[in-house]
């Protein structure tokens, strides 16, 4: 793959023909736009080790794609799209691809601050983690504690966080500080398959497994005190909690159903794609509109899932510290979605246009003044949350104007893996990782010891380098660096 360096941290693959083997036959596809890679040399070297660049080059072949297909600094091989990928297609005639969002629709991250300091939490950490672990279902096949009816589930799908607010699981501020206010209005529970509803009804309010987590973190470094203060981060060693999970089986089944539906329809529109997982149809077709509506419903489920987890986290903190919310703070700094499709205005060749922005493992990072920002963050830019591994830092950043120019207002969503799960299991022992982290002052509680080995910090890229690329490109500005001290893994 011929990758040209354009300038510091920016690489490009120029459009060319791709020869791809599909169902035993070699077929030719043409890239419609260049591929952009935001990386330094360390990262590019790792990105080249798997099929990330093949996958993002395939994305560049999608009909109606505009400007460029982007691999961010955390990019790695996924399915269909690479992870850490962003693509914008023409809002009317461009493609809508469920694979460009992924199975875990509205997987995302939340950051909740506390008024506590490390010294308040350190001694009581085992109790705190136990309480969280008991209070929030996690791990393989985890089921939420709620016993909701199918009509409640429809409410969740149709109304997102408005449902949670009505039921007393959310504070008003939670909605204000959540991407889209925790509610996508194109949702329609009536078109969600019975299969998706059956799979998910017991899962609302559960963490799941894999890379999903709840982390107790301490402030390690503050880079911009003014902005940090506006976000409620005032001192080193202040404690915050980060939550990473998505829409559970609801999203998985919606994507599965839509992928099958769309691949059958694409023949009618004479659309060909270089990877069957990229199945897509033009935005102005009933099949695309049906997917967008289902995706919005799944996203609403994802918002509520993280909200219930937040609610139970607040309960656990209050029980363990025997103090009320006013004293403990536990306000939501911000919540982002990192697997989602949005219709947004962007500039392409000096012309403003509406695009279907597919973000797959990419975090929205809108600059100061953007109309989508909550009033209290208008001046500072949108908080963008970029978590690391259970053994490394996580970052709170804010979006900058350059993000609109370079990356359709997007930044990385995490460290990005470099090592396969099977290799990680061969290379690490779960218990040994747990012990090493404990020596570093990080207590881990997990539903599966196997998952600890799979999620070993050594299986990921260096988060500091991943975030530095976005910071140096001025896509985002680093505001606070956090390090974990307590981790709950599914």
């Amino acid at each position: 793959m011929n990758v040209n360096k354009i300038e510091e941290n920016i690489y490009e693959i120029t459009p060319k023909a791709l020869m791809v083997r599909l169902q035993g036959k070699i077929e030719r596809f043409q890239m419609n736009v260049p591929v952009r890679i935001y990386a330094n040399e360390y990262i590019l070297e790792r990105i080249k080790q798997d099929r990330t660049l093949d996958q993002i080059s395939n994305v560049a072949c999608l009909p109606g794609i505009r400007k460029h297909a982007i691999a961010l600094s955390d990019a790695h091989q996924g399915y269909g799209f690479c992870i850490g990928g962003v693509a914008g297609t023409d809002a009317e005639t461009g493609m809508i691809s469920p694979g460009g969002v992924g199975y875990d629709i509205n997987c995302g991250v939340r950051l909740i601050r506390t008024s506590l300091e490390e010294k308040d939490v350190k001694k009581i950490m085992p109790n705190l983690l136990d309480s969280i672990f008991r209070n929030i279902p996690s791990g393989l096949g985890s089921k939420g504690k709620l016993n909701i009816s199918y009509s409640d589930l429809d409410d969740v799908l149709n109304n997102g966080l408005n449902w949670a607010l009505d039921k007393g699981y959310a504070l008003e501020n939670d909605l204000k500080h959540c991407e889209e206010n925790g509610f996508l209005m194109d949702a329609n529970a009536d078109i969600i398959s019975q299969k998706a509803k059956q799979r998910a009804i017991k899962q609302l309010g559960s963490l799941g497994s894999g890379n999903h987590f709840i982390e107790i973190q301490r402030v390690d470094e503050i880079y911009n005190e003014n902005i940090a203060k506006k976000l409620g981060i005032i001192k080193k060693n202040q404690i915050a909690v980060m939550v990473h999970t998505g829409s559970r089986a609801l999203g998985h089944q919606v994507c599965t159903d839509s992928l099958r539906n769309i691949e059958k329809a694409m023949k009618n529109y004479q659309i060909r794609v270089p990877d069957r997982e990229l199945a897509c149809v033009p935005a102005n077709t009933p099949e695309a509109q049906n997917y967008l509506s289902q995706m919005a419903s799944a996203a609403n489920f994802g918002f509520c899932n993280r909200q219930l987890i937040t609610h139970w986290l607040r309960e656990s903190f209050q029980n363990v510290f025997k103090e009320d919310l006013d004293a403990l703070d536990l306000n939501l700094i911000y919540g982002v979605c990192h697997n989602i499709l949005k219709i947004e205005e962007h500039e392409v060749n000096g012309e403003k246009m509406m695009l279907n922005i597919h973000r797959k493992g990419a975090t929205r990072a809108f600059p100061p003044g953007h109309p989508e920002l909550p009033q209290d963050y208008k001046e500072i830019g949108q908080p963008a949350l970029i978590p690391g591994t259970m053994g490394s830092a996580s970052y709170l950043c804010v979006g900058k104007p350059k993000a609109m120019e370079l990356s359709f207002g997007s930044t990385a969503h995490g460290s990005g893996r470099v090592m396969s799960r099977s290799k990680a299991k061969r290379s690490y022992w779960g218990n040994q990782i747990k012990e090493e982290l404990s020596k570093k002052g990080i207590l881990v509680k997990a539903a599966s010891i196997q998952v600890i080995a799979e999620e070993a910090p050594g299986a990921y890229k260096d988060i500091d380098q991943v975030v530095n690329v976005s910071h140096e490109l001025d896509i985002v500005e680093k505001v606070v660096r956090f390090v974990p001290i307590g981790v709950v893994k599914g």
Binding site: Y79, L140, G141, Q198, R199, G210, R260, E263, S422
Partner: protein, 143 residues
């Protein structure tokens, strides 16, 4: 001549399964999916038997839908299986049809190994290779 193993894939699981016939390779592929969820299949007893019937427009879609069914059954009924007998895969008109009998039991984290949740089956780099020597399947599971 049947079995499966996992290939290196950065984020998800790519399995390679093989068998003398399409039925055998499909069955091995389903076992490779079960092994991600719970690593020691020998610990699964046979208290439940189910018959599955799947129809799809081509072999890849048939495999995709067949494997997706196990994720659905796991989420809704909590069942895991270690015996997957595919009785037939037939092409009828323009459609493929699979019939299988599967045996297993309810997943119990105190009895079975706790593995990783599989979010979905994917089409990414999917490959079903049939030759005179047998059938090989490559497929990626989203974790």
């Amino acid at each position: 001549m049947k079995g499966f193993r996992y290939l290196d894939h950065t984020a998800d699981i790519q399995s390679l399964s093989w068998g003398r016939t399409l039925e055998e390779a499909f069955s091995q592929c389903a076992l490779s999916l079960m092994t991600v969820i719970t690593s020691n299949l020998e610990k699964i007893s046979h208290t439940v038997e189910k018959s599955l019937k799947i129809k799809a427009e081509d072999k890849e879609a048939l495999l995709f839908d067949f494997l997706s069914e196990f994720l659905f059954i796991f989420d809704v009924e909590g069942l895991v299986f270690n015996e997957i007998n595919i009785e037939s895969i037939n092409k009828i008109n323009n459609e493929y049809e699979l019939e299988a009998i599967v045996r297993g039991e309810e997943f119990d984290k105190n009895k079975h190994e706790v593995g990783t949740e599989v979010k979905a089956i994917t089409y990414s780099f999917i490959n079903i290779e049939e030759s005179t020597e047998g059938v090989k399947i490559k497929i990626v599971f989203d974790i």
